[in-house]
């Protein structure tokens, strides 16, 4: 299967890329890792006239903690999220997620920014980064605010494969609050086989105070709604409580209520809703096990 003909351009700076986006407008698509876009082009579900390749722009793959924030450059590959010691040691939610995205070869190419901008409701990063309370840094034409703006990820997703990106804008960074003391996360996914999309997946991030009371909670749901979803009621339920088994069980029920699954080849809606409950409970348990309580 061959994509329809298109024109290719590989700018070497972000400014050039933004100018090209402005020039070609809706005819253009950005190419990051290409592991979703290229298959879509082969199936002719996507037929851009101009393909703007971001892979030749240096400086978009930084991955560092800076003044209480994890800064993930948009072109950071899934593989780097999987292998970087900083992520493995401080961000178990993100390390868990990276390990279950697609397959190891696809993870060599696919990028975090590309995944977020693609906004597939079954994309793993969406749910994980909602749980992590991430923000998206968007760079666009110069003018207002030096061409940059930052949005909570929740406001970035506006529908299936739809985002708040305006013409000429590019996702350049994802920002995740660095974990405080007694804070951890986990990501659990049910998939039919390696490389398939999630049947259901759930990401959680939880922080306790010195007395073991929950002071912060994030829960993101994957593949059970028109976008990646945040289980807000479940999060609020946890805050101020000691997360024992009965509290966790109720959080699972609230997360299931927040899900909006549809029946498809990966399972009936009822089943998926119940799996949201089960995975939320298990992910919370796993995250809590990871919190060292001195």
């Amino acid at each position: 299967m061959f994509p329809a003909p298109f024109e290719y351009v590989a700018p070497s700076t972000l400014d050039q890329a933004i100018r090209l986006l402005q020039q070609y407008g809706a005819d253009a698509r950005l190419l990051a890792g290409g592991q979703s876009l290229i298959p879509m082009m082969r199936f002719r579900l996507a037929n851009p006239k101009v393909l703007i390749d971001l892979n030749r722009i240096p400086g978009l793959d930084f991955l560092e903690e800076d003044r209480g924030v994890l800064r993930i450059g948009a072109m950071v590959r899934h593989r780097a999220m999987e292998r970087t010691p900083l992520i493995q040691q401080r961000y178990p939610l993100l390390a868990d997620t990276a390990r279950v995205i697609a397959d190891p070869i696809v993870r060599n190419r696919g990028t975090v920014g590309g995944s977020i901008a693609h906004a597939d409701p079954a994309g793993d990063w969406g749910a994980a980064l909602l749980a992590a309370k991430a923000e998206v840094v968007i760079t666009g034409p110069k003018g207002r605010r030096m061409g940059q703006r930052t949005l909570p990820l929740e406001d970035f997703f506006t529908g299936p494969f739809m985002t708040a990106l305006q013409p000429g804008e590019i996702v350049t960074e994802i920002r995740v609050p660095a974990p405080g003391p007694r804070e951890a996360g986990a990501y659990l996914k049910i998939e039919r086989k390696v490389g398939d999309f999630a049947v259901v997946a759930v990401g959680v991030q939880i922080a306790l105070d010195a007395d073991g009371v929950c002071r912060k909670a994030g829960i993101g749901l994957c593949a059970v709604g028109p976008t990646s979803l945040r289980a807000r009621e479940a999060e609020e339920w946890l805050i101020g409580k000691r997360p024992d088994e009965s509290v966790i069980a109720r959080a699972g029920e609230l997360a299931a209520e927040a899900s909006q699954p549809t029946s498809d080849t990966r399972g009936p809606a009822e089943y998926k809703r119940d799996m949201v409950r089960v995975l939320t409970v298990r992910a919370l348990r796993k995250a809590l096990e990871r919190i060292p309580m001195a």
Binding site: M1, F2, P3, A4, P5, F6, E7, Y8, V9, A10, P11, S12, Q16, R19, L20, Y24, L31, G34, Q35, I38, P39, M41, R42, V50, L51, I52, D53, N55, R56, A102, D103, P104, I105, V106, N108, R109, V194, G195
Partner: protein
Amino acid sequence: MPARKGKRATAAPRRTAARKAVEAVQPAARQRIRVTVNGHPYEADVEARTLLVYFLRDTLGLTGTHVGCDTTSCGACTVLLNGEAVKSCTLFAVQADEAEILTVEGLAKDGELHPLQKAFWEDHGLQCGFCTPGMLMTAYAFLMENPHPSEEEIRVAISGNLCRCTGYMNIVKAIQHAAQEMAAR
């Protein structure tokens, strides 16, 4: 457009940075690319929509890399791009401009099979052989970074490569065997 196989000693001079910058901002339906495949430099005009696997097979005639599913699932088309395993059906040839590529044809040296190839042969790590080039290239990249893998690690490493004969037992065995051979060298 036929490919021209360059001579290593007389490779054409690299494009200057300035010229490249001018070229870079102009979208084009065709582009001239230079790649090094299995140590040999090649230069060719390619259509932007040409996927790397078709460039390797149809333009360069390197048919060892197989097209399997064409949907980024099976891994039969796996090659190394600058040392990393990639599915060559999910990358445009123009993206590989100035890259080094290793395909299954580049594994044997001076008529001698690579230890991975020998191990696949000896341990019956293939039945129909269709997935073999991808399995070999994935295993090659994997053993470069993890020379002493556990069986579990091997199974994860090849989880993006499908064998429709389901001959995974012997594929895993062959990779273990090759790892031992390579470590003993």
